[in-house]
Structure formats: structure tokens, C-alpha cells
Amino acid sequence: MTATAPIARVGDRLPDFALPLLDGGTLALDDRRGKRLLLFFWGSW
């Protein structure tokens, strides 16, 4: 086993990430800083 991949937990800073928007373009988490954010993770399956 290599070193364990770091996982962000409650109390940690969520690392910035950017993902494609369903309607085109990209959403960067960085653009949402300064706001209270609810991230809702789901799947169609």
C-alpha cells in the first residue's frame, strides 16, 4: 500500500475543484467561496 490518499473531513478545508456544468461551461468551487454552500451528491442509477 502506498501512502493513504488524503480525505477532507468535517473541520477540514474542502480542496478547490472544478467540474463541468450539465448545461455547458465549468463550475469552480473557488467562485462560490464567501457563500454558504450545500453540495448534494447523487446519481441517476
Binding site: A5, R13, L21, G34, L38, F40, F41, W42, S44
Partner: protein, 209 residues
Amino acid sequence: MPGWQRFYAAHHASDFEFVAVALEHAGAEAARPYAARAGATFPVVVDEHGLTSGLLGFKVVPNGVLVDQDGIIRYAKYGGFSIDRAEDVAAVERFIRGDDPGPSPDHAPLYALGSLEQEVVATRLRLGRLLDAVGRREEALAEWQAALRLDPGNLVIRKQIWAVRYPERFYPAINWTWQKEQLACERAAEVAAGICDPDGCPLPHHVPR
């Protein structure tokens, strides 16, 4: 999702944002009808390669994660996070008001992947997506299956494979009884093959060298 759309419409304040992250290893298209049906006016992003599941260490959905103005995670619930659960909605409402959302449910992952394994899983997911996009579905499934072998407790990957291989069990409606039986059957085969232990933790000799 329709429920979250109503919640968003009622609570959308200048300093509150809702972002839906769809885990769709077989591509964004599967998410589109759900977002459309919900009339989603909030942003919906698609995570095709398990970037967020790797960052946060979750292996199931649906999940809710609350992040404050400084980017600090204040609350996380992995699995079963729902607009239909009063305690989940209450945590979000406290957070929106500026209060402490309260304690997060216990989240003790069965195991943590190594950095290399995590990278290999992400790469296999990406490769599978590329192959699937050009119609090489069996090769795509083989890549996703290889990712699952490294991360056998990952229900996001496992269910994605099922949805591609057995779409009739998922669309238009999810057959939960079938999933339970299928999971038990696959787990038993994986334990017998020495891929994971009965708890679903990967056995070390399956780590790539």
C-alpha cells in the same frame, strides 16, 4: 431532486448556494432527464471520474455536505441524505441561518485507498468513459470492473456498472430487491476470488505493483 428544487427556491439567499453533483461514470447524459424533470434552477455539475468521491472519501450517494464561507466543511452525511428526512433538512436550515448545523452522522470508512490506488481507480474510470463514448462498451465495463476490484466497497462504481449492464433494473424505476440480491451474489464471488474480505475491504495482494 424536485424536493431540493423547492427547497432551493424557498431558501435561495444571496449567501446560500446549492450545487448538485451527479456521479455519472458513464457520462453526463444520464443525469440530464433528472435535472430537467426537477426543473433545476441550481447548478448541476457532473463528476465522471470520481474526483469528489476521492476527495471526500465517500463510496455511496446520496450525500449532503455543508461548506461555510471560508471553505471549511461543517457537516457531512454520506448515504441516505434526503429532502424527505426532517433531520437532514433541519441541519441545512440551521446552517443557512448561520447556526451550527449540528453533529455529522458517524462516517467511518471501511478502508482508505492509497494515493496510487486512488489514482489508478480514477484513471480506469476515465479510460472506461473514453471507451464507452466510442461504443466500446465491453472494454469500458472491463475498466470500470478493474476500478471496482481495487475499491470493492465503492457502491458508486458498482451501481454505475450495474446501470450500464442491466439498465432495465434502473430505468425507468430502480429495482431495490434485485440490487440487494445482486450485491450479495457479487460480494460472495469476490470473497471467494480473494478480492476482498467479507466486510468488503480490498485484500492487499490486489494492489497494483
